[in-house]
Symmetry: C2
Subunit: 329 residues, 2 copies
DNA sequence: TTGAAAGCGATACCAG
DNA sequence: CTGGTATCGCTTTCAA
């Protein structure tokens, strides 16, 4: 591989001049041309490592998230990645697969690779752990979709409480008396908020709370599948169920099909995420559609602002979810 | 930030000794302890950039793919990422969103960041372009899911021809006389193979080819949606349709629901990818299930082998797809 | 084993 | 503008 030195020699200029040329500084046209030619002839490429060593910048952004199986995260990420790349950053991604140990390890590891900033969808990390892990290496951080209590950074969340509340209210207003809910792990911020939304709806509609109707599990297929069975095994079955993410919704619907339970004739269901999938069902499944692309875009924007040196107080934005499929039934 | 020099000073040893300690060399226990302590007291972290500059290794692997919206790619990636990380590599990911320009640019860019290897799901890049872009910087490459004709590297593909053929044969054997197909862009390898499978099935069952029954588009929602409308507008409608990826399947089913066309009573449909989603429908949608996780695992394995210096001839592996949902109707 | 010193390949300051 | 040079922080001979 040719180095900047080789280019300088070949173009009969100093390395400083070559460096200036590369980085868009002022160079006399004649020399510039010589350098350009030398670069081409030698097929010279800057060595990114050497550059990073001097500039302390990798143009790399870490993305730490629990999974990529659901299109929800995939879409969010795709938008984010695109926006960041526009500004010259690439994304180093790590999925911790809902494992607390991995979540810690990966966070530590990502930081150690020299990323310039981080977008983080947290689950079970605590504020204490976070501080310990990031001590010393303070890089811009945006929390996305969820947040660690007491870690005060830029954050992008949705209106989990309102969305869950509205969904449950809608079910109740349809005449359902016993509305159940299948929740993700309470160690996830979103699960806690959606539960709060569920409770608020009951309160608002004056419906007593029955803890047999709330299933807590993980945000995964199995939880939806088994949660449905568990609810159907109740002495008094629920008449409707709210799921709280994509995987559990799929799991629940699969269990329902296998048991021959008709949706919505036998049990009403309100899904969450990926409305495009559920709107292909007939009749359409009412679904909470989170603004995932918007979320990704905002996270990127917030991070870029910090990366550009902005020093204001931490921002929080909360784009709103949409309830779809609740009209045309 | 403390440097290796600071640690050496504090521990009263030379930098070489510290370096050796860090990298697992032989160091007298007494000195090792002193170094350990100094590192802890100073909260020393190796500077990854400096290390890369010397070792020419970034422990970073590039992943270039067309999209992440479909769980197909998400799952594939998740498995790959996990395996690579086990060996100390992290993934830098780039989605080219089915744009040829981006595909080129991102490939070039990824290489310029100093990745040690690349997993690439190509679409429209040609062998010539590939050679031009990678000239000089020859790094291990694994082609995944698709391949560029004439670029001879390790490759992981599925049995697209057989899978599509079997699916169409199954439809024909169910008594369907006019089986249509909605294809992705012929610039994608998988689309070409699946078309070949479709044609082979017709041949095998002695059914004449009717080009009105083959819709070519992109591997996206709109193609499925519009493709369905186009096929339904035909003077003589197809009695069954094969879709060839997840997004088009969703698109098609959505269009069907909106038009009140019942699946499979009015039109038979054979889907592709993400069988877990389609198996929640009732009745279950017959679906070609590709071994996406297996594919991801194999790609990681192949790449790791090269990263470890293996020099054998390029390998090609083709794990088989499964036809699901074709029994219990 | 340990340490001194020579790079790795760029950037950026400073003098000319 | 241009060029010499110190420097970024680490790894790696090579002697001792």
């Amino acid at each position: 591989m040719a180095t900047i030195k080789d280019v300088a020699q070949r173009a009969n200029v100093s390395v400083s001049t070559v460096s200036k040329y590369i980085n868009g500084g002022e160079v006399r046209p004649q020399k510039a041309e010589a350098v350009r030619q030398a670069i081409e002839e030698l097929d010279y490429k800057v060595n990114p490592f050497a550059r990073m060593l001097k500039t302390h910048k990798s143009y790399s952004v870490g993305v730490l998230l629990p999974a990529l199986s659901a299109p929800f995260f995939g879409n969010m990420f795709a938008v984010m990645e695109q926006r960041l790349r526009q500004e010259g950053y690439h994304c180093t991604i790590a999925c911790y697969s809902a494992s607390h140990g991995l979540e810690r390890d990966y966070l530590k590891y990502l930081i150690s690779t020299g990323i310039d900033g981080l977008v983080y969808i947290p689950e079970r990390l605590t504020a204490g752990e976070y501080r310990e892990l990031t001590m010393g290496r303070a890089i811009p951080l945006v929390q996305l979709d969820r947040m660690i209590p007491d870690v005060d950074t830029d954050t992008v969340l949705t209106d989990n409480v309102d969305a869950a509340c509205d969904a449950v209210c809608w079910l109740l207003d349809q005449g359902h008396s016993r509305v159940a809910a299948i929740m993700g792990s309470m160690s996830a911020f979103t699960a806690r908020e959606r539960l709060a939304g569920y409770l608020r709806a009951l309160e608002r509609r004056n419906v007593p709370y029955d803890d047999a109707l709330v299933v807590e599990g993980q945000f995964d297929f199995v939880t939806g599948y088994q949660g449905f069975e568990q609810l159907m095994a109740l002495p008094v079955r629920p008449t409707a169920i709210l799921t709280t993410n994509y995987d559990t919704t799929i799991g629940l619907l699969t269990a329902a099909r296998e048991r021959g339970v008709r949706i919505p004739e036998d049990v009403g269901v309100f899904g969450y995420d990926c409305a495009d999938v559920f709107s292909m069902m007939s009749p359409t499944l009412p679904t909470v559609q989170q603004p995932e692309r918007e979320m990704g875009r905002m996270a990127a924007e917030l991070l870029l602002k910090r990366l550009n040196g902005w020093k204001g107080p931490p921002q929080m934005v909360r784009p709103k979810s949409l309830l779809v499929g609740i009209d045309r039934r």
